[in-house]
Each structure stands twice: as C-alpha cells, then as structure tokens.
Symmetry: C2
Subunit: 332 residues, 2 copies
C-alpha cells in the first residue's frame, strides 16, 4: 500500500437513528420484515413514529457507524455523507467528529431534513429498520471531497447508496479516484432487500470494482440466489480479493484466494440490540487490515467490535473500543 | 380526595437530554461539581458540547421524567412545559405522549430552541448536568392549562422552575388553582445548587404551600443548612404533610406527622447511570399515593422505579415499568 494520510474513508447515508422497543405484532401490523431495512417516505416515517413508544436518538448510518468505529479504534478515518443544517444534522456531525473522524461534507441549507432511521428492537434483540433518506439522498458527485478519497488506503462504500441515483454516481466516481490513487475499494451489501433491488449492479461491482466485500448470510445468498450459505460462499470466492461474510452467532468466514478462515464470535454479555453488528464488524476488520494485520487477526478484531456493540442499545459502542481491544490483547 | 380525571399533573422544564460518558478530569477542567446541575447559556452549551464525545439523545426534564413514569405505571398523567417547534421539541412531545401522558402546551414558534441538558456520566455512574433552558424559560402563566391542573389529584412541581421568573409565576398560579380545587401540591427540590439559589422561597413554599416534598440528602441538608441528614429530617418534620427523602444506596425515609418509614433500595442490576433516579422515585411514590396505597407501599414503589432506571443509560426506563411492578408484586 502506498503511503496515505488516511486509513479508511467511507461514503454513506448520514442518518440519525431513533431506537424504539417494539414487539413482533407491531412488525406484523405494519408489514415489516424482521432484520431488514425498508425505505419510507416522510409521511410514512411520521405515521410510524406516531405509533411507536419513546425513542433513544443516536447517530447512525451504516458506513458512518463503521468509520466512527475505526476512529474509536485509533484509525485515521473520514466520512462523506449529506445532512441538512438542522438539529439532527448537528448531532450527526458532532458525534462523528467527536470520535476523531474527519467529516467535512457541507450540510444542505434547503430541501429535506436530515435522514432518520426508525429502528424497532424486538425482545429477541433483532433490529428492523425504516429509513427516511431525507437530505442524504441528495449527495451528488460535487459533494465528494476527492482529495480525501485519494488519501485513503481503503474507500468503504455502503450498498444502501444504490437507493439514490445521485449518491450512486458519487459512489462510482469515488471508487475510480480511489483506484487511480492506489487505494482499495470495500463494499458492504448492506441489506438483503437492498441486494434484491440492485442485484445486477452489485454483481457487476463485485466482479469489477471491489477488493473487499462485506456481507451477511442473507445478503450473500440473495446476491447469488443461492440455496445455502456454502453455495453462496463458493459463488463469491475469487470474484473479489477478500470476502468477509458474517453469520451472527455462528461467527464469520473470510475468503481470500483458496483460503477459508473461520472466525469465532465474541460473547461479551447479554444480547441487547443487534443494531450496528455488521457495521462494527467491518470497522474492526478494516482497522486491522489497514494496520497490516493478518486476515485472521482482522476477522477477530471485527468479531470483537461486533460483540461489543450488540450488548447495548444503539449502533455505536458507548464504551471505549481501544480499551476493549487492549484488554483482549492481554488476555490472548 | 375528590373525584378527578387525572392522577398527577406536572409542571417543569421540557428538556431533551444529551447523555455523554466523561471522566472526572473533564468535570474538573470545566469547573463542574459532580452530581449537580449547572445552568449554561447557549454559547456555553455549544462550547461544552463541542468538547465532549458522542451522545445519546433522549427526552428528559425532571418533572417530565416523573410524569412519563407515572403514565408508564398506568397512572393518568399530564405534563405542562414549553418546547420550541423544532426537531428536539418534536422528540420531546412524541416521547411523553407515546407513553400515554397528556401534553398539550403549545410549542413556541419563535425564540430560543428547545431546552437541552448535557448529562456527563462518569465511570462511577454519577451524572453531572449542564442545562441550557432555551424555550422552557418562556413558560408563562398564560401557557398553563388550568383546567388540566384543576383535574389533578396531585400537582407536581420541580424546583428547577424557580430559575425562571416567568415559570415561577406559572408555578404559583398553578398551585393556587390545584389547592382551590381540592388537589394537593407536591414539590421536588431538584438540586442542591438550585436550593442554594432559592432557599428562602423554598422554605416559605414548604411551610405554606406544599403537601408532599421530595428531596435527596444534599438538597434537604442544604435547605435547612443542616450538618447531617438526621438534623435536616428533624427540621422538615411537620412542616409539610409528607416528606419523602431519598438517600441513594441507603434507600429513602418517609416522614409524616410523627411517623418515620425507612424504605430499602432495590438493586436490580449493575449501576450504569443515576440520571432520573430521583424523578422515578417520585413517579413510583406518587403513583402509589394517587392509587390510595400506604406510605410504606408508596415508598417501596418509588424505590423500585428508581432501582430500574439506574441500571440503564438515560432518565426514563426503557423496559416496561408495569411488568416490573407486576413481577415484584408476585415475588412479594
């Protein structure tokens, strides 16, 4: 890797989460599929919000959670995403900057409000998301800080961006700049429904533009319309340099060339809320990767960070990830 | 008690909390006294926010937390307080209504933004608060829904209101309406520094206008400039009908006439964040009281609700208080 001033730069939807406890019946009554992300318009978002209990608000957004995690681990992180100049946009900007990540994308001064994601946490700790993309949809190529992208060892992109045409263009432009400057491109497939919506684009991306792919079991089987995880793993092997596939309580599998690395999950406490598990896995993995760790060590670091975030409400660990990593390094 | 359509109506500052983890040094560096509430202006609030880590946003406000708790327990609750018509104001209104409390105070359409309280939670789980009163300061007698006040068995007031001249006038007007309609008046002393600022007013209130007084050890010793808790308890005895005095891990003491009732604390899990402990004690106590329970049962219910809120981040219990109470009633 060439010398770079940043480890990872991410592009994604800049979102504030509203975490709410809900029961299974609420999901059924509102036609929501547990564990997935549904897009809602402003009116639907307001109507849903009006029907849920009290919430906890906290910065979210898939790639943003990952980049915040990398910064918390001590990595040099940058994030590109679009908020509105409203109170929630201020919270988003504060939170990601406060952990040391660079975030310079100008806030929109007109148009829709900052994106919000209503996250329904059921008693089994699963999260089901309803996202109003708001201002984040308007991210366009002109918003990109291409100098920052060029300075990244790895450019990390969330599949959710594909839900907006403008953001998708920004995404492709950024990937080209990263590649042209000797950086690598990582992609998260984000969500099984998102894969359904954009399967052809994602297949093409994985084959031609992606060095490191992150996906969970549902997403990777959806991408290749596979009947099992094993079938999907066989399908993706060799199509990109590294595929990091997460399987919840079964841990994760890292594929690279003909290597297959099994990584055990970390159980750090009672399971409270799975929000952010995949995002924090990517954070740990990419932090290890950009520090030159082995793929196995990257997988273990990803697993540890994911294990930490699921013991609390919300997608970003409230405790110190650095201390967590240090205590596990001593124990190992 | 005469027949009323509401159990408890509360008047207080309508605040959104920003919960942040901080260490002791941060408190020292910023001249903050652990466990207390400091008032800050908008500029100080922004400067402090800029120097802290990522936050969790959630509805707060002392009396609002109490009324939300009463509603969660199944009581008929109403809240009066002033937000601005901004995003945080929307969150505040949603959260208190979503648990079933009435909240009809019109949002301000101009002037300062919704009040925010930066709550610094130190590793010992203590909370230290910096409050920007924003729109809540502008609560004036004309904002009061006096019909709602007249319908309350108990009118609950937070001492913090004394920090605003307009709100203080609203407070006194409401107490008179409550009394004239056969309701009782409860007051929380709120904070030791708040007691310092308004000692004479509070002494007069307790003697002449308050039926039920809530205070913690620091507040009641400050009120009577006492050298010990026992001295303060002797001083307050008989000055109002009931004094409910909380003592953190030493539980609470209820004084009424010559009765002295000791209430044990509930330890429901590891101590995470003491924010809301006093507010939830008042919620449990007043819910029991308005349901006609004995003072001992009221104290136990207060203790149980306080015990629940300190096992989580934030001032309002995320789990079901009704279920908690039911499970403890079965166990008893």
């Amino acid at each position: 890797m060439t010398a770079k001033s940043l480890d990872v730069v991410g592009i994604g939807n800049a979102i504030v989460d509203v975490l709410v406890k809900a029961d299974e019946r609420f999901l059924d009554d509102h036609g929501l599929t547990k564990g997935t992300m549904a897009l809602v318009d402003e009116q639907q978002a307001e109507s849903l919000y009006g029907s849920v209990g009290p919430g906890l608000e906290t910065s979210g957004g898939s790639a943003a959670n990952t980049l915040a995690g990398i910064a918390q681990l001590g990595g040099r992180a940058g994030f590109i995403g679009r908020v509105r100049d409203d109170q929630l946009g201020g919270i988003f900007a504060h939170d990601i900057r406060s952990v040391g990540a660079r975030f310079d994308t100008p806030a929109a001064t007109s148009g829709p409000s900052t994106a919000q994601c209503l996250i329904l946490v059921t008693p089994d700790a699963q999260r089901t998301m309803c996202t109003y993309l708001g201002a984040s949809v308007g991210l366009h190529p002109g918003d990109l800080d291409l100098a920052m992208v060029a300075e990244a060892k790895v450019l990390y992109l969330e599949g959710y961006l594909w839900d907006s045409d403008e953001a998708k263009q920004a995404f492709i432009a950024a990937a080209e700049v990263a590649r042209a400057n000797g950086g690598e491109v990582a992609l998260s497939l984000s969500d099984a429904f998102c894969v359904e919506r954009h399967r052809d684009s994602f297949l093409e991306l994985v084959d031609g533009h992606v060095d490191i792919l992150f996906a969970n079991e549902m997403e990777i089987t959806s991408l290749y319309k596979a009947n099992s995880f094993e079938e999907a793993a066989d399908a993706v092997r060799g199509r990109c340099r590294i595929a990091a596939l997460t399987r919840s309580e079964q841990g994760s599998v890292i594929l690279s060339g003909d290597q297959t690395i099994q990584v055990e999950p970390f159980k750090l406490g009672p399971l409270v809320d799975t929000t952010g598990a995949g995002d924090l896995f990517a954070a740990g993995f990419l932090h290890g990767y950009t520090q030159g760790e082995s793929l196995e060590a990257c997988g273990r670091l990803g697993s540890l960070c994911a294990g930490a975030v699921v013991t609390q409400m919300g997608p970003r660990p409230q405790g110190s990830l650095k201390e967590l990593v240090a205590s596990h390094a001593q124990a190992a």
